[in-house]
Structure formats: structure tokens, C-alpha cells
Amino acid sequence: MSQFMINMLFVAGSFAIYTWIAIWARAKSTREFYIAGGEVHPVMNGMATAADWLSAASFISVAGLISVGYVNSSFILGWTGGYVLLATLLAPYLRRFGKYTVPDFVGSRYDSKTARLVAVVCLIMISLTYVIGQMTGAGVAFARFLEVSSTMGLIISAVVVFFYAVLGGMKGVTYTQVAQYIVLILAFTIPAIYLSLQMTGHFLPQVGFVGDVAGTSEPLLHKLNAVVRDLGFQDYTADVENKWNMFLFTLTLMVGTAGLPHVIIRFFTVPKISDARWSAGWALVFIALFYTTAPPLAGMARLNLLDAIYPGETSEDSLVYAERPEWFEKWELTGLLTFEDKNNDGRIQYYNDKNVEFNETTAVERGWAGNELTINNDILVLALPEIGNMPGWIVGLMAAGGIAAALSTASGLLLAISSAVSHDLIKNTLFPSISDKAEMLAARISMVGAILIATWLGINPPGFAAQTVALAFGMAASSIFPTLMMGIFFKRINAKGAVAGMSIGALFTICYIFMYLGWFFIPGTNTFPNTPEFWIMGISPLSIGCIGALINFIVAISVSYATEEPSEEIQKMVESVRYP
């Protein structure tokens, strides 16, 4: 059977499962559509949350991102540590509150339509930025594995999401996410186990990571450091100088994670408060399976790739271009690998030519005239089965896994968007008198609208699509998280404080990002170059979200204390959220 047929089989098989779930889990009421009837088992919800969380970018790009070394540990810490905040500061109380959406809590807690609307605007900005990446991610996964254009792949994905999200709402989304989690975690861990066995002889990559290179007594990380150092790169485990910015960036990712609406609403679907607490734990167990595998995978895959380019020692000659392996040729076609023979010796020299000292010494001695190989970071995961000579079914599994990761996150985001539109805008702001049946129809139509917009934006990605990390996490950290947390922990915060805090926190964050990345992300319009020497107090635009959160807290508290106390009724409501 050809590789194409195997990939096809895996993807079509997984799609058949999702479609079957869509038909089985049709939503019959708004309660089912918004929160799956509030009857999801905590372990199931944990799995669905993990699928919601692990996106196309996590699946395809994270290993490449962290393969740079210790310096990118922020992503690993940030995208897991946020769950501790979520579990202790938000999830149980929001579940206790028992409403359907995040703006719903904001609107009721602060008894203000303005607060609700500001929350809706923030939610839509966050989720829309995020969903575009998922749609394009699904398209890319299709294009790589199934030889269709990425636009075609994107449209196929949209149709599948349409099926289960419009029919089943949260109920359909939840149970497909459970299935998608299983597909994606198998697809991610099996190649990692395979690689770990090859390189270290350990079954668990987490153990192999701190173990020795197979057949030697040299620790893997030691070897990795030595190899990258030989090629002029920074040591894999090298420490970071600007710890201040690393600290703020990690904090922004953590607080942002806890403030992402599509993750928060997952905790509305479990039966009880105690379930919400357990469920957060289960969610992190399933996420941890992924995020503890990613660092070993990143390190081993980088070493593996370098071994392929330098078949002997790094001090010996590198691979002859004419004798390059088949996978190399294949990935050259996609443009993710490009070779340019700068010194005309027919060999592939891959090294860090931005290292001035290395250029003047080793590169000169060895007759190298610049780095000749450009490697897109996504290669590390996408080409892993081929570089590691893994069986064909693993490639098929990875195709299904990449698509599952994209679809599960996209559907969670689309649900967050459509429920904010139908429940908060249509039902609670514009037409409060509509019946449950009419609201359900509105919810389905909003979902269709959200899918169409996301598909269109996926095909024609706007400039901000690439700024998910800056924009979505910065906004979630500076607007949603503080407002929710203060709503539970500080009784004294009133509507004026919340609205002022959210607006100023979010605006501050966005302006700081625009200053360095271009106003409205239009290239060339940035006020300052985006380099460390121009960052105010050494804070990069990606790290500003937690400062925005701090500003939100300060503004909300100051304004609240300067204005009236919230009504007796509201204070009672806050009390009731605190006690199960």
C-alpha cells in the first residue's frame, strides 16, 4: 500500500468517527448546546480540555520552537502552569455560578451590559485571532499528507467541524474532542517513544531525555550541547541573560492560558464544583503527557537531524548533496528545507553563520562560506518519521493527529465565539424575550457564521494571524483573567471598576504590542524596532500581557473604591459563588 493510501485511511477513519459522534451527540436544548447539559464526566472533560488546548501549532511547531534549547522553556512552563491558576482561582467558582459563557459571568457579576459587551469584544478578538491559525494549520496538515491544496484541505476541515459543531454544539464538540485527544496523543507520543528507543534505549522519552546516548555513557544533553557547540550554536542548556523578560513572558503565557475563554467554558460542562476541581487536574494530566514529551522529542529530533547532516562526527565532512536521502528531497519540494551550495563543494554545511567568532575561526579553517541549509522548525515533527526510518503507519497516524489537533481547538474556539454572539449579544442584550428554541436557532446560525468567517480568514489570513501568541495571550491575560478573578475574590469591585480595568488593561497591552510589531500589524508602521535594546525596561511585546493584567487590577480597584459599593444583591451573589 502506498504512503498516500495509508495517510488517507487514517484521516478518513478518524473523520468517520467524528461524524458518527456528531450524529450521536445532537443537542436538543440550549443547555446541551452551550454546556453539554452540564453532565460531562470530569475525566472526559479533562481529555476534551486537553484537545481544546493542544492546537495545530502545539502539535506541529512546539517541538521545533523549544528545540532551540533552554531559552524557550517559557512555552512549556507557560502553557501548563496556567492550569494551576485556572484550577485554584477560576474554574470551581465559575462552575458554581452555573452560567453558559464567560461574558455571561462578567455581565451578571457586575450587573452591567457595558461590562458584558466589553467582555464579548475581548473574547471575539482573542478567539478569532486564535482560530485563524487553527484553520490554516488544518489546511497545512492536509496539504502535507494528502496531496490536496491547503485551501481545499481547509474547506474539508470546515465541513467536518460544521457537522458536529452545528448539530451538537458543546455536546458534539466535547465528545469529538475526546476522540481527537486520543488520536493526537498517540500520534505525538508513538514517534517520540520510537525515537527515544533509537537514540537512548529508553522506552519513556522523559527518561531518555536525562539518560545516556544508546551504547555510550555520555548523557544525551551533554552530546547535544557538544554537537550544537561544534556548529557555532549556543549550548542547548545554556542559561538566559534576560531572566526578567523570560519571567514576564512565562507569566503572561500562564495568566493568558487561565484567561482563554474557550478553555474556561469547558469547566461549565461538569456536574459539580468538586468535579470542576478534579477535572482541572485531569486536564493537566492529559496536557502533561504532551508537554513532558515535547522537550525530549525536541532535543532528540534536533540531534537526530544533525546526525543526518553530519553522518560522522561534526568535525568530519558533512552530507554530500547528491547523495541526500529521499526524505530530504521530498521536504525540499515543500520549501521547508532549502539548500544553497555557497562554497561549491557539493556538501551540505549547516551551522550558525551569525556567530561572528565561529565565522572567523572554524568556518574559515573548514572552508565554509556561510550556512547552506535553511530548516523550517516544523520539519522536526513533520519529517520525524522519515528521518527516523519509522514505519508508514506512523506517518499516517501523524497526519490524522495533526488534523485532530487543529480541528479540536478550532471547534472549541468557534463554540466560544458563537455562544458569546447568540447568548450574550442576541439573547441577553438585543432580544431578551426570545424563547429557548429561538435562542437555539440563533446559536446554530451564529456557529455557521463563525465557521464561514473563520474559513474565509483562514484562506486569506490577515497580518495579525501570525501574532496569536502576542495578541491572544496578551489580551486574555490583561482583560479576561483579572476581571474574572476580581469578580470572585474582591467583593468591592463594581461595574465601573471592571469596565475601566478591562478596557485600559487591554488597550495598554495592544498599544505596546503595536508599538513594536506595527500598528494594526501593518508592516513598517512600528514606532520602535522590535529588538531588545528598544524594549522599555527590557520587556518584549510578547511579555507585556502580565503588566497589562497588573494595570487592570490597579485601575479596577482604584476606580471601584472611588465610586459606589456594589449592591447588596451583587455582594450576596459573590458570596454564593464562593460557597458550594
Partner: protein, 87 residues
């Protein structure tokens, strides 16, 4: 709400807040402490082939986070029972 009920609720909430503070102190110590700011001083301690700071930044913190959330859930569910606040 009767006075005794109010007092019991207050006690419940402060116990919860105390537990959250403990949880978040550990959360910050492993990730920002061991994994980041204290790393230069922990270089001498090794976990397998990795130095302690590196290991906590890429592995150890995540395990600790998982344990922390379950610990918090377990403690809180017991607290609910103690105060008769189960759903």
C-alpha cells in the same frame, strides 16, 4: 443568613484562600524559582544528565503542577465536607 452560618462561611473562605496561597507559592517556587531565577545556583545538582534548573524548567515543574492541582482538589473537597457544603 444566621450569624453562625456566616462565621462558618468566613472560616471556609479563609481556609480556601490560605490553601490557594500555599499552592501558588509552590507553583512559583518550582517554575520561576528552580526553573528560572535560581537556576545559576542549582547548576551543581543534577537530575540524570540535566542540571536541576533545566530539568525543572522542562519537566519537573509540570509534574509538580499536576500534583498541586490534585492536592488542591482533594483538600478542598475535604473542606467542603467538613463545613457541610457539599453539593
Amino acid at each position: 443568613m444566621t450569624d453562625s452560618k456566616e462565621a462558618s462561611n468566613k472560616a471556609y473562605w479563609s481556609a480556601n484562600v490560605r490553601l490557594i496561597i500555599i499552592t501558588l507559592c509552590i507553583w512559583a517556587t518550582v517554575s520561576y524559582g528552580f526553573g528560572m531565577l535560581l537556576r545559576p545556583w542549582l547548576m551543581g545538582i543534577h537530575i540524570g544528565g540535566a542540571d536541576m534548573g533545566f530539568w525543572f524548567a522542562q519537566q519537573g515543574s509540570i509534574y509538580t503542577f499536576v500534583v498541586l492541582i490534585f492536592f488542591y482538589a482533594w483538600k478542598m473537597n475535604r473542606l467542603d465536607k467538613k463545613f457541610g457544603l457539599e453539593e
